[in-house]
Symmetry: C2
Subunit: 186 residues, 2 copies
Amino acid sequence: MTKQPKQRARGEERRRAIIDAARTRAANGGWSSVTTRALSDDIGFTQPVLYSHFAGGKADIVLAVALEGFVQMANEVDAAVGALKGAPAVRAAAKAYLEFARLQPAVYEAMFSLPIGVEFGTESTGPEQRAAFSALLAVFGDGDDAGVVTEVFWSTLHGVSTLDAAGRLPYDAREARLAMIAERFS
Amino acid sequence: MTKQPKQRARGEERRRAIIDAARTRAANGGWSSVTTRALSDDIGFTQPVLYSHFAGGKADIVLAVALEGFVQMANEVDAAVGALKGAPAVRAAAKAYLEFARLQPAVYEAMFSLPIGVEFGTESTGPEQRAAFSALLAVFGDGDDAGVVTEVFWSTLHGVSTLDAAGRLPYDAREARLAMIAERFS
DNA sequence: CCAGTTAGTTAGCGCTGCTAGATATAGCAC
DNA sequence: GTGCTATATCTAGCAGCGCTAACTAACTGG
């Protein structure tokens, strides 16, 4: 009754292909170009195959891209901070965060803007988001208000990222903004 | 050839009705429930009528809601700040901004999340957004880096608003966050 | 009263996400 | 090998979306 290893492997391989196709498509043509028909064309099968790998349909696929994004972002922030403390740590975390958002706008959009049904800090929060939050939390140590600082810090980074991606922060003052963020949150 | 006053008045009245219907619908059922069919039902006409008032179609209607939102937000921030200076002004502006976003999430979403094709700070920026930006800029006076401070301040408020609206800022620490924002940006 | 403009409608196109039902294929018991 | 069963995949189609061409009714200026 249980699936054979070969079938399982093929299944995971296909899952991989679908997620990659979605991310690539979104990166090139925006999420509006990620349709179930286009996606199934990309992987060389027909639409219903998507639903056998992602029961929740398209939303499920977007969610998968988002969750992988959280993991990657957590890793990159962690790597950037390393053993740094204080102001340098804040600056490194901010830089890593903003660069991730800037270099992978489609993935970032999936993580925060698209209607994937995940919440933060609640009980239902998955390990992926928790990891990302923890990566930032670590920067502010274990003070009483570390949680609140992290939230506002996160919010600032998120705000800069979205406004920047929308072309709403005009002149090229990225360095100045980064410096200011590091200063205000240290 | 020019339209009669009576026709013009009816036209503007209808425009009003469409915008109001869109905002009300979005507030109650989310922007996904704002379809051209539902909208035309609301105003008691058929779909094509929408296009005679908004040539750009649905996107144009959403844009109209967004622009009115910018004006309203600018007014509320202005009113809240009044003649205040320094830290109290920062706090008042932040409070007004966050409350606007919290009380009118659908309008706020139209202003920032939905794909309306408006940019900031560029030449093409409309007077509505300029007004909103100016309302915040006024808080930080005319220092050299007032522009950058305003951008980061704006980003923080925007980040808090979106993360809060998405249920991503868990425990009820709104007051603590507000206090922290006022402190860091004064 | 008629001609011309305009407001409004009906009907339909191409697209979307999604799915029921038919079909082909693969794996296993004998 | 043969026949059965379970699974994988496809065909075809539904309902809803934004939008528009083409027709009709009504109103208005001369």
